[in-house]
Symmetry: C2
């Protein structure tokens, strides 16, 4: 099996959720059946939201690049990052290391295209930072798809901050489901949960929505890379 | 905050439990309040039980030493290992690196001595490998304490293997509680859960037992080391 390095800590609970999903994804009869990981659980990565929304604070890019280098030194043969917003800095990571980055954004756009077909609107339940930087817009547009975001950015941001502080709870679940329902009314029958804080809420999308979680797409890519013997698997998912 | 390296994967679910306990132990209002970790989630460490009980299989010592070296290269300022049995190989780890190993066995013996006083019996709910190598016997004896182990080793081993395969369930909980009750009848009113698979079961000790989990002792040591500004904290807990 091949070892995957995790650029983690954004947030730390989401990193644990990824690790738990990876354990659950492998049918195992003993420890050795599970996927080897090297995890940089680094909650001190400068705030992505502060840097992207408020334009203040340190640049997370150089920190992520240094984390990537350390993970490769520690034996990682590919990298993965359970934080959608941080994929804005993917170019800095790619420039720092030679191993592939299993790109949650690219992989999720492909999944959305499979579900939505060639023309349509895809709802993005994500942080306002993701909307501001248009993280999904161009890759979705290349598939003939339009990204739709929740109108009430303040509520989406408040939900993230609340989950980071007190964990998922009914209040944040209601906020997310309301946003999901509004996106459905605007024509987005396919929606992606594109914030690993929201991933901590189960059943957070509206009835009638075909939803998937970008974190689950990343789990599938990591599992595929780790268990794939040939190098072909790697280039397929990068 | 200081970064702690985790020699993990023994088993992988226990490593996640440690990480979750570390998140729960820190009152946080944002990501940055949490402890930075670098985690080698390596489920392919050779089986400790096979090596110690059956005398077959590869020696885990050199693998753990190499993991320790890699964690230090990746930025770890101390190491911790959420697996009691693997502490048999602590000398190989200490010989490989200069940073301190937060020793779950030594720390747990001190905790047992605090609870049991200067004379008494301490029940050890652990794998048969821990009994065979006498992991806790000598350090407890130095505190005037006697280690007592469950009689039915086959059942204890079966419980560990079942938890590794299907997770904690009522059947393994009953097995552990029965063993705990028998230890109490033999005079061990203080007992330690000294197997990170058993840590996955809550409420697994008998009524009337003063019990603690060695994993919780390790959580306190990691938290203390990470949050302590001066180097004094490190030497205190090693």
């Amino acid at each position: 099996m091949r070892r995957v390095g995790i650029l983690g800590g954004m947030g730390p609970q989401a990193t644990l959720l990824l690790m738990q999903k990876l354990l659950d994804a492998v049918p195992a009869v003993d420890d050795a059946d599970h996927i080897p990981l090297i995890v940089d659980q680094n909650p001190q990565v400068p705030s992505r939201m502060r840097h992207l929304i408020e334009g203040s604070g340190d640049d997370p890019g150089p920190v992520l690049a240094r984390m990537a280098e350390r993970l490769v030194v520690a034996g990682a043969e590919a990298l993965a990052m359970p934080c959608n917003t941080a994929h804005h800095y993917a170019p800095a990571i790619r420039a720092a290391v030679k191993v592939p980055l299993l790109d949650m954004v690219d992989l999720s756009v492909r999944r959305a295209a499979e579900l939505a077909g060639l023309d349509g609107r895809v709802g993005i339940l994500a942080s306002p930072a993701v909307r501001k930087i248009g993280l999904f817009d161009a890759p979705l547009a290349r598939c003939g798809l339009q990204a739709l975001y929740p109108d009430d950015e303040a509520k989406m941001l408040a939900a993230i901050r609340r989950i980071k502080a007190v964990g998922p709870d009914p209040e944040t679940a209601v906020a997310l489901r309301t946003a999901s329902d509004a996106l459905l009314q605007r024509g987005a029958s396919v929606q992606m949960i594109a914030c690993t804080e929201y991933s901590l809420l189960s059943d957070a999308t509206a009835v009638g929505v075909t939803a998937f979680d970008t974190l689950d797409v990343l789990v599938a890519a990591i599992t595929g890379f780790a268990l794939e013997d040939s190098q072909r698997g790697a280039t397929n998912v990068v």
